[in-house]
Amino acid sequence: MEKRVLFKHIDDPEQVTVKGYVSNGGYRAWEKALKSMKPADVIDEVKRSGLRGRGGAGFPAGLKWSFVPKGSPRPSYLICNADESEPGTCKDRELMECDPHGVIEGIAIAAYAIGSHISFIYIRGEFGGPIRAMERAIEEAYAKGYLGRNIFGSGYDLELIAHTGGGAYICGEETALLNSLEGERGMSRIRPPFPAVEGLYACPTVVNNVETLSTVPHIINNGAAWYTSMGTEKSPGTKIFSLSGHVNKPANYELELGTPLSYLINDLGGGISGGHRLKAIIPGGSSTPFLLPGQIETPLDYESLTEAGSMLGSGGVIVVHDKTCIVWVIERLIHFYRHESCGKCTPCREGTGWLEQLISRIERGEGTPGDLEKIDSICDNIMGRTICPLGDAAVMPIQSTLRLFRDEWQYHIDHKSCLVKSEFEFA
C-alpha cells in the first residue's frame, strides 16, 4: 500500500496556498515548536524519530543538527537542498510544486532547532514551476507571519531566501552548493571541516534535502513514536520513490520503508512496459549499483538495499527491460558524470573523461581486447579517492554492470555490436 504522509494532501489543489495548507493542519507544528519546545527538544524528537537524510547519504537528521556548536558567536545557517538533479529522481520537484508550505514549515523548524535566523533554499535553476511555487509561498508565509520577525509572538526571527542555481549537478553536493551560494564556481570542498562546523561564509551550517525537511513537521505534530511505528527498525518512516523507465505507471509513490521493490514495480507501477521482461533495476538514482530481476523482492530500506549490493540513495528507481543494451545505458550515464565533474580533483576530472572515451568506443563497436580491464582499473583508481562522492557515483553503476553483465560487455567488444539491440521508439 502507498503510505501517504508527505503526500497526504498532494492531490489537493488548495494545498499550495497558505489558506489551504493551514486548513489541512499546516503550520501547527511550527507553532508548537516555537511555543512549547526548546531547540534541544526539537533535535531530540527528530533524533528519536530516526529520520535519515533523503538526499542520498541517509545521514540521521537529528544527529547532524546536534553537531552545530551551541553558543557560538557566529551565526548559523540552515540550507534546504532543492537542487534535485540525480538522474531518476523527481520527488523534490513535486513536493515544492504541490506542497511548498510543507517545505517552508520544515525549514523553519529545522532552522529553529539549530538557532539559525537566516535560512536558504537552493533550487535548481531549471525548475521554473517549483521556483514560482516556492517564491509565492514564501511571500505568503511572510505576510501571515510564519516567517519574518517575532514569529507567533515568540521573539524568534527567521528569514528565508530562495536562491536559484545554474544547472550544475555538482551543486547538489553540499560543499559545492555552499561555494555556489557564496558566488563561487560550484566546486566541492575538502572535508573536514564539515559544514556543521564551518559551512556557509565559514559559519556553522546544516544542509538538508527537501524531503527530509518536509518530514519534520509531521514528526513534531505526531511524535517520534508515531514515526517509528512506520517502516523498519533501522529505517523508520516513509520515503518517496520516483519510479521511472520501463514500467507501465511511472510516478512518485510514497511507501513505508521496507516495502518490497516488487510491490513498487509490479503492483503500483503496473509491471514492465511493452510486454517485455525485467532486465535490471537501478534502485536509488543513477549513482547506485544495479540490481537483477532475482532481487526484486528486496525490501526498500537502507539496510536491505546495502545488503543487496546497492543503495537506497535518493529513491529514484529506474527500471530497464530486456530489450536494452547495458553498454548503451552505461554510456549515457558516464557521459553525464563526465559532463558534471567539477574538475577540481584529478581522479574524477581525468578518470571520468577516460571512462567516457573507452565506453563510447565500445558502444560504437570499436572496443579492443583489454578495454574492460582498463575500465576496471580506472574505476578502482577513482573509487574513494576523490574530494566529493561524485567520483564514486560515476563508478558504482559501471562496476556493478561489469560484474553483473560482463558477458554482454565482452560480446560488445568481440562482435563490435550489441548482444541485445535496444528497442524503444519515440511514440
Binding site: G88, H163, G166, G167, A427
Partner: protein, 158 residues
C-alpha cells in the same frame, strides 16, 4: 546599458537580501539571462557595476554554469533531456523527430531565429519522460502528436 530598469531593480532587490554581496552573482546572472536569453561579457560588466564585485569574478562564476547560453539562441530554446530515464522512453527518437520537424540539427538554430535545439542532462522530470524544456516551461510525457501541437502553438505566439 543592455539590462533594463526592471532587471536592474530586481538585481538590487536580491542583492540586499544576502549576508554577503558576492552571493548575488548567480541571482544577477539569472535575471540577466531571463531578460536577454543568453550571457556575455558586456552583461558581466554591467552586473559588476551594480553589485560592486570585480568583473573577473562574475565571469569566473558564469563560465561554470551551463544553464546560461553564452551566445545568442533562438526565441525558443528547446532543451531535450537525453539522460537515462528519458532515453529509455525514446528521447533519442524525440530529438530526431524535432530535427526533422525543425529542419535543423541538434545544436543549431532555425534560420528565422525562432528555435534552438539542444540536449541536456536530467531535468528532474523522470517519471514523466520523455520530456523537454522550452525556455522556463516543462513539457512532459511527450508524443509526436504533442510535439506537433506545442510547436504549432509557439509558432503562432511568435
Amino acid at each position: 546599458m543592455i539590462l533594463n530598469e526592471q532587471s536592474i531593480a530586481e538585481i538590487r532587490e536580491k542583492m540586499v537580501k544576502y549576508p554577503r554581496r558576492k552571493s548575488a552573482i548567480l541571482p544577477a546572472l539569472t535575471v540577466a539571462y531571463r531578460q536577454i536569453g543568453h550571457l556575455n561579457e558586456d552583461l558581466y560588466g554591467e552586473i559588476s557595476k551594480i553589485i560592486e564585485i570585480p568583473v573577473v569574478e562574475i565571469a569566473e562564476a558564469a563560465s561554470f554554469y551551463t544553464m546560461f547560453p553564452k551566445h545568442p539562441v533562438g526565441k525558443y530554446l528547446i532543451q531535450v533531456c537525453h539522460n537515462i530515464s528519458c532515453a529509455l522512453l525514446g528521447a533519442d527518437g524525440l530529438v530526431r523527430y524535432l530535427e526533422k520537424k525543425l529542419e535543423i540539427r541538434k545544436g543549431e538554430t532555425t534560420p528565422d531565429n525562432l528555435f534552438t535545439l539542444i540536449t541536456v542532462e536530467c531535468l528532474g522530470s523522470c517519471s514523466t519522460a520523455p520530456m523537454m524544456q522550452i525556455n522556463d516551461r516543462y513539457y512532459e510525457n511527450l508524443t509526436r502528436e504533442k510535439v506537433d501541437t506545442i510547436l504549432d502553438e509557439l509558432r503562432k505566439q511568435a
